[in-house]
């Protein structure tokens, strides 16, 4: 998992398979970066994600909560259609931006 910070915008590049097994490690790393940089915008980039189940939704919800507590907005980008369908089931589209 790579991250890039520029102009108070933190981009987290997710890759591979996101399930309950892999989500734990991603969560720890993403959270420590969010806390370290206190960005104004958090971008979760799913372009290189090859599989995602509802653990991916939990991952987004958790990061959105942490980020919004610090007044940071959350953006999700690079989603494949089926992954978007899963994320939409949670109603998250009302809280975060899809790009």
């Amino acid at each position: 998992m790579q991250t890039v910070i520029a102009d108070k915008s933190l981009t987290v590049f997710l890759s591979g398979e996101i399930d309950h097994h892999t989500a734990g490690r991603i969560r720890e790393k993403a959270d420590s970066e969010i806390i370290k940089y206190s960005p104004k915008e958090l971008i979760l980039d799913f372009s290189d994600v090859t599989f995602m189940d509802s653990s991916g939704v939990g991952l987004v919800i958790g990061r959105y909560k942490l980020a919004s507590n610090n007044g940071c907005k959350t953006v999700v980008t690079g989603l494949k259609e089926r992954d978007k369908k899963i994320l939409m089931m949670s109603g998250l589209q009302n809280k975060i931006e899809f790009r």
């Binding site: 309950h20 097994h21 509802s54 939990g58 919800i61 958790g62 899963i86 089931m89």
Partner: protein
Amino acid sequence: MKKPINDFKMNVLSKSVNEGFLRAVTSAFCSLADPTLEEISDIKTAVSEAVTNAIVHGYKEKQGRIYIDAALYPDNIIKIKIRDKGCGIEDVQKAMEPLFTTAGDDRSGLGFSVMESFTDKLSVRSAPNKGTVVTLTKKISGKCE
């Protein structure tokens, strides 16, 4: 129901690393029915949800075994049973409500909704302290020999 053309049964420890393993095994079995990529992804997603539920909710901190039993029937119908001998579900109807979860902040409560949405039929049988059986049924559009 007619007799299956092909089937497999196996069981694994309820370790989270086996979520990916069971997705891979099930999709390899289903690929014998010549499914589309979309159908394979649907099955992988639904299996992943059921196996995760067994690990996170069925066995919680304990370790047990997850039993998977998949069969391919004439007319290209795939039936996958995922069973655990964990704590079971008190109220199956409540557990199946979208966004309902007992597992805290980072679980979305969408497991059963995703299983329903990516299969043709979902059935859940559960008894407290005995375990849970989730049955996923899906028709594959491809042609099977």
